[in-house]
Symmetry: D5
Subunit: 165 residues, 10 copies
């Protein structure tokens, strides 16, 4: 009663393996992928990651964010447990909000060579102001290159209401 | 005082029949359809299905999701009770989130030959991350083929706010 | 201190008349219209109708919905009290959700000959699934014919979150 | 420490003047304007007016609405205190919802000669149904004429959820 | 374990420096910038600033707003602590809502020479009416000039619901 | 198919009578009552009245409130249409918030001689502050006298969150 | 794999029987009960019934409400399908809000002889006012008689916020 | 058509007087009171003040809060415009959150000699933590002394959900 | 850097062990406990379990609920992974809502011998009605026996608002 | 313009000092206190801490929670910046949810010797279940000892609605 055969699950090392080494330093090498079984139709996969935390590169104080990652796969899907470990590796790492979000996108482009990807970070406030960077990418030579431009151009025209509570 | 004659209701076996066999294994054969009485105008039908549950193919643990299905019928409509039984048949079935959503779409395309269809699954989190796959389809040779591309290109530009509570 | 003269109010029989016969069978003849005083500019009128109820044509059980009706008038506006009586006439009438929504639209097109109209029904769940049909119409030979296609093509790309409670 | 000089504030008679005559009859003459200091860039100004009330022209019963007014100024801005008095002048005035909303728009076009304006009224229910008219206007010979058509064509595709409570 | 080297952090004087002079008069000179490390891809940075307050130029009474600032950087990013001090400098400054929002945008264009920027102020009500100005800017000679026109044309088509409580 | 006989409905003059004189001055005489058919058990009846408006006694400017009225009837119930007309009679009447709320309670005590009653007004803000008066009453010689003291003592320990938008 | 034996399910005629006669006139005889298997501990059962509708006894217009029923069983539980049919029987029945709520409570006391019961109806507005009656009952000679007094005395001290939309 | 005579309004200097001196330093002397016309029954008056701002006594950075003030008057009511000016006088004043809230309460006790009063401040976060002080007071020799103890003992048992956004 | 020694963690077999047998039939034997390290002070532990599903004993159709479990431990705490497996064992088990909730409570009393426990199930609707059973228990001979009576007596006096969507 | 003199601020080392050592191991020694200036009246201070994170002692995976801390001070108040550093010290520390919450309370009792304190942790889900421990303490020999028992006995009778999204 399984939708995937054992062979189709073979490349996945982390899911179902509880004895995992959590990396306390930024480490894109923990990311794993597996085969997309639906190459005939473009589709979206979104990850909601409300448990992201990193450090401020100037003061060392902790930062908190929800990271939203959406992508259109080509041949590969990212394995969610490895994504969790990857995001965990920012835990004791210092970087600006704008840099974190761009770095996550570039590491996933490197891993997956997706048709399209976007990353949106919504950070908690410091000194009464919160920062929400958003970046995206469309693969050259596909229709997703133009799509990325369009999605950026119409990004966040209805900002969520924020009151810091 | 009926909007449909007995003849128009004749093909429907499950609605109004409480003695139903619930299938505990994935089974697209339970799906039933009936005639669309409004072929003169394209229109949308959406199903909200917040009671979807399946199993993880690696660990066997239960997964939960709300599945949203929207389609533009051609000659046929899906009967809602049979859709319920079909979704029930994932209850003890193991599959990845991305595979479930694509499979549901393909089974309904097979049943209905619709002009357009889309399926969006919003799963509860595992390890602090939740996954929301979305796929769609437009019938070749109709304007809905281009519409499907457009809807995918502008999909989910305003992600709902998630905090895992 | 009145915005409309007595002459302009003359055709309205139901508003301000409490001794009304509620029809317990489906009856589009109760619908009334009055003149649009702003023919120089296209504009929208929307009705929110959260108190719609009909019967299931198979089992006789009651169904409940919120019906949203939006239209761009040409020469006529629908009188709201007559709309209320018209929707009431579905109270003991049996029809599928998809048929109710299309029927309401067609009856209003017949009454008003509007430039544009759309009807969206959001029904409460049966067996854990709810159904939300949506149809629309643009008058041939006006720009609203193309507008109707566009609005259908981009319909409901951000489905509301449903949890059946 | 002032952003506007006394000269720039000279035309404003109502703001900072508490001894105001509230008009109990509809009176567009109370509206006042002042100079737009940013003619180099088009921008929007929106007024949220949740305290609008008028009377039903047939029955005399009070109606309540939130009125949303958005416009792109040309040479003039409307002064907010005068807008408040203008809206107050509907308090004991009888008119249909559709007529109120069109009338407000036309009076502000007359006052401001704006590049663009739209008015949306969301009324409370009577007999279980609420009515929300929306109209707009773009100045002939500017790009806002086409913009007005577009905004009308895509108006309110995601109706707010209404349950009459 | 730092994402930015000391050299890359060198220009930032306010972040990590608690002994700051808060300016009680409007002062754009407090704004600071630092280098954008991702010039290869356009992306958005948004600031949510719910703690903005200024004075009314006519009456001296305090005004409160949430200011939303979104921009696409070219070579420079605005440092968030300096933005906080800049917004603080409106605290005892008198200006109309429409003027505050345009002034903030122009000061940031001067500082950053961004590809795109927009500023949206949502003020609390006075006399039952609240005012929400919105302005934007796209750099001449880039695709963001046309993008700014589009974003303005489709601005705020779904106004948030306001009830003054 | 009626729960009340014609005799039991005989005293009610306003409900079902559309040709009503709306009083534009404060007038408690419009209030009507009818018999309580459940004298054997104490119970609560609550009215939610979000469409209350009056005038400021100093400046003449309009005030808006939601009035919540809850009571335990003795022999009489207040007829809801007459309550609507009574509240309407404050429309052009000037009074402080604290006085309106106490006055409504005292007029209903006079009409109904209830076992218990409470009135809570939640007004929209003026100058950034809103005022919510609450008063109650328990009939001497009944257990509701002590109940009134208790309810006042524990009143509103969880104030609703207000942000003036 | 059943928690109740066939014997324990024997008295239930409606659940699992789709060919039901819906009664269009008020009919408490449709109510059914079954045995409470947990007589050793008092506990609550609550029914949320948002699909209640009846008629106004004066004007015949439809009324809509959500009915909340909570009780502490003694020897019997009410079967939910029969409760649904019972509430359906108000569909074409005319009664005041206050009378409906008291009548539902008394019919369930007659059926179940419960230790405690309460019924709360929250109706949609008519003429801008909504009515929410609440009644309760505690069995004489049990501690629930005093409990009923306490619950009534502290009823609804935090009224939900109502704005009629 | 006035609820208060000119004599009853005589002591009020600020309401209806727009030419007010806003004090930029903490100043309890601006508070004004007027007579309570309902001394026969105890009742509550609540002020919702979401536009409070002060400075941090250590760093000078601005703090923001919503202040909720509830009191049971004895002979005097506080005039709302003077309360607004009083709260404004904290604008450039440095004090800890705990001190602000206690100070506001004590100043109002001094002014009004009320039977009961409570003040709750809900501040925006600094460094990821927000602080909400609450204090209250009951007049010695009245039942409100014990009531104050009770209200403190049961204070805030259902903390609002906070996520800093 | 551990709050519990290896010895203190010794009895826990499921947490950190991914190769788990999920039981498809009701099985209280999977429940595990571990030692309470804070016996000196009574405290509450609550589990929120929104992913509960069982079957209807009459029709076999799936039921869905959120189960809330709160208890005051004596010597033992329930291990959360074993609780998850226990709740999973209802997945293919048929029982009425009222029976499920009582059974869960009794199994946990058997396992933990707690001072206090309560279980609240909130099920999704069937036929337009949802059922929410609640039961509790206080250990004889402790103050929690009386506390259980009090909590039951004041249970759910503010029912959440339900609209089946 | 300061509410506290330099002398009164003397004991505070962390606030206004940005060059702070963040401790990566659990360390209650970082906590600091300062004098309560309002010993004449009992009052509450609450901290909302939505950015708490620790590690699972079994698997090392990160846990996230919002911690709510409320206390009634005696002679001392906790300094908020030191509280932030203290909570930060759990970042790389492994402990069960129930142990974290009890430990935080005991460390603050040790620091402050408060009259009353309570700590409530609301953790994000693992495997579909979330855990919310709550503990409290009242100082022996004060009325807050009994108050602590009461608050525990009536704790969380209205659990927030959780759906894991
Ligand atoms: Ca917020
Ligand atoms: Ca959430
Ligand atoms: Ca959530
Ligand atoms: Ca929900
Ligand atoms: Ca819902
Ligand atoms: Ca709901
Ligand atoms: Ca609503
Ligand atoms: Ca609002
Ligand atoms: Ca609000
Ligand atoms: Ca608000
Ligand atoms: Ca509402
Ligand atoms: Ca509403
Ligand atoms: Ca929040
Ligand atoms: Ca927030
Ligand atoms: Ca809902
Ligand atoms: Ca949730």
């Amino acid at each position: 009663m399984q939708g995937r055969t054992k062979a189709e699950l073979a490349g996945i090392s982390l899911l179902g393996n509880q004895a995992i080494d959590y990396k306390f330093g930024y480490d894109p090498a923990v990311l794993e992928s597996f085969a997309n079984k639906h190459p005939g139709n473009d589709y979206f996969v979104k990850f909601n990651c409300p448990e992201f935390t990193s450090l401020c590169p100037m003061t060392g104080q902790p930062d908190f964010a929800t990271i939203y990652i959406s992508y259109v796969p080509d041949k590969l899907l990212v394995e969610s447990k490895s994504l969790k470990l990857y995001l965990f590796s920012f835990r004791n790492h210092g970087d600006f909000h704008e840099d974190c979000v761009n770095k996550i996108m570039k590491d996933l482009v490197e891993l997956l060579d997706p048709k399209y990807i976007e990353v949106w970070g919504k950070f908690t406030p410091r000194g009464g102001i919160s920062i929400d960077p958003y970046c995206n990418y469309g693969k050259e030579g596909t229709k997703w290159q133009a799509a990325a431009e369009k999605r950026l151009m119409y990004h966040d025209m209805y900002p969520e209401i924020i009151n810091n509570r």
